[in-house]
Subunit: 360 residues, 2 copies
Amino acid sequence: MTRVFNFSPGPATLPEPVLRQAAAEMLDWHGTGMSVMEMSHRGKEFISIHAEAEADLRELMGIPANYKVLFMQGGAIGENAIVPMNLIGRGGKADYVVTGDWSKKSQKEAKTFGTVNVAASGEAGKFTSIPKQSEWKLDPEAAYVHICSNETIGGVQFHWTPETGNVPLVADMSSDILSRPIDVSKYGLIYAGAQKNMGPSGLTIVIVREDLMGHALPITPSAFNYQLQAENDSMFNTPPTYAIYIVGLVLKHFKAMGGMAAIEAHNKAKAKVLYDYLDASSFYKNPVNPADRSLMNVPFKLKDDALDEAFLKGAQAKGMIQLKGHRSVGGMRASIYNAMSIEGVQALVAYMKEFEAKNG
Amino acid sequence: MTRVFNFSPGPATLPEPVLRQAAAEMLDWHGTGMSVMEMSHRGKEFISIHAEAEADLRELMGIPANYKVLFMQGGAIGENAIVPMNLIGRGGKADYVVTGDWSKKSQKEAKTFGTVNVAASGEAGKFTSIPKQSEWKLDPEAAYVHICSNETIGGVQFHWTPETGNVPLVADMSSDILSRPIDVSKYGLIYAGAQKNMGPSGLTIVIVREDLMGHALPITPSAFNYQLQAENDSMFNTPPTYAIYIVGLVLKHFKAMGGMAAIEAHNKAKAKVLYDYLDASSFYKNPVNPADRSLMNVPFKLKDDALDEAFLKGAQAKGMIQLKGHRSVGGMRASIYNAMSIEGVQALVAYMKEFEAKNG
């Protein structure tokens, strides 16, 4: 068996030790005679898995006691509606900062549920930089300010935390949660689909400050009501149990790697290898303002896009897959989440050099 | 490793060959060098898994071409809101037949989105029988008639298909989908959480007649809009890929078992072993009207509920777990979905006899 270097933007590569453990435990978890997939979510075995995953997440991220951790379904696109359904009732309006395709989608969906103000947008600059906060037009009466901390398509990332005063900051962290230390207390709510940096698709993590719950619009489905889910330990409906188990294994792996500071150092080192090469090359180009570059998703273009097919084919032959850029921007994209090794990034750069030498 | 007999109502026992295959393929699916969990949902590998699962489901259930199959998130409790959000717009009112806790929940949630008429209810008889259709008060103008084909808590099941004329019949089949042949063309929409008879939790299957889509209420979240999901082959948002893969393996297993007719015969044989014994015993009692008894969930009570704890402890010692009844009805419940073997049911009956002999 040869494992590939998988640069997929999500679902994405996972730590190999996690997959080995999941395989070993598939038919019999800890001598219980059953797979985690077969466990009643209300049985003591799964309740322990669930509780441990939550405790490890709280420890890794330093989540304060006045925040609830919810394990939900529907992904970030589901949350685009679920967030306003639950939060916009506090006054009826919200601010959105648009820094790429994902936050733009969030902003559009929210309009169904209240008044949405685009406080800032990077669209005029083709989403190659994050608008400075001094240019944001924030409404002090807004129910919340929404950002996407990392845009997977454009490859921009917040490397600072916006100051929103008494207005709760809401962040879609689907693509950079657990990639670096953050101060959770500066956010009112954080949500993330699991399938980029944490585990399989089909699980959404919501971290929400307790005082923000309890204002859901009447049309909020019970299964997506934060207050109801919080009151029922995320078991108002059957949670995606196997995905929670895998996330739990990934969190243990992250702890073993040394926690958030060590992981951030690892991610910075990986990204530096790739950006340094891109900046030194005249054959490849990354369009993003250096201060706003994502450590997770690195889009780049070849000098001549007629070479794209050959580049992808050559990469595939060397066991490097999913490098094609998003159809809306073209070119290439390397997604280098926590589970991508530095060896994977070095192999990619070595191949890029070789390809440049041949075609440059 | 000793596998238990797992009588959990869901998530529930799965076919052992499926778990073995999933374990074997965990690090490297078909020589691709990656786990199914790591695959981009837009890559050709996962697209083939997804397409094959849909094709096998269509074949097994005989789903007509004018029905869409959607792989969604949120479970049946999510669908309690998602169904009316998508369908009640055709006129603003719907009929609900209440046969137990699940259909009662469905009916309550639907009220948020339109006018709900309880066309029939078994509540007066403590949900021990299904109201005859001659007693139903159907509204010919209703957008749909909703039933739950099998109630896991009360243990009643429809063994006939209601006639609803031009009003589409909507069925929550979470707990008996794929347990027997059904005529899909008699339904407008069928939905089911996967975690009872098909696979892991976190995946919901929706089978919907095409002409019923396109009437979603404006407040329907995009991720839960049937029309949008149908137009995007269930990839409007990232689907729960690993759960779809496991369901695909389960479907292959069901095909190998001989398809729906063979599986129904298997389920009838298993249920007969248990009901025959219950009816012959004066120590145990199943309260359900014989014609409406579920082949999937068999609730029963001991003569003296002071013996419940000892019964459960003894069962556990013999490797039979999750037999405790739902807290709302007490007593015991054996869930005997497709993946429960006849040996499992025989072992349960043998234990019940032994326990009766000792305590009767």
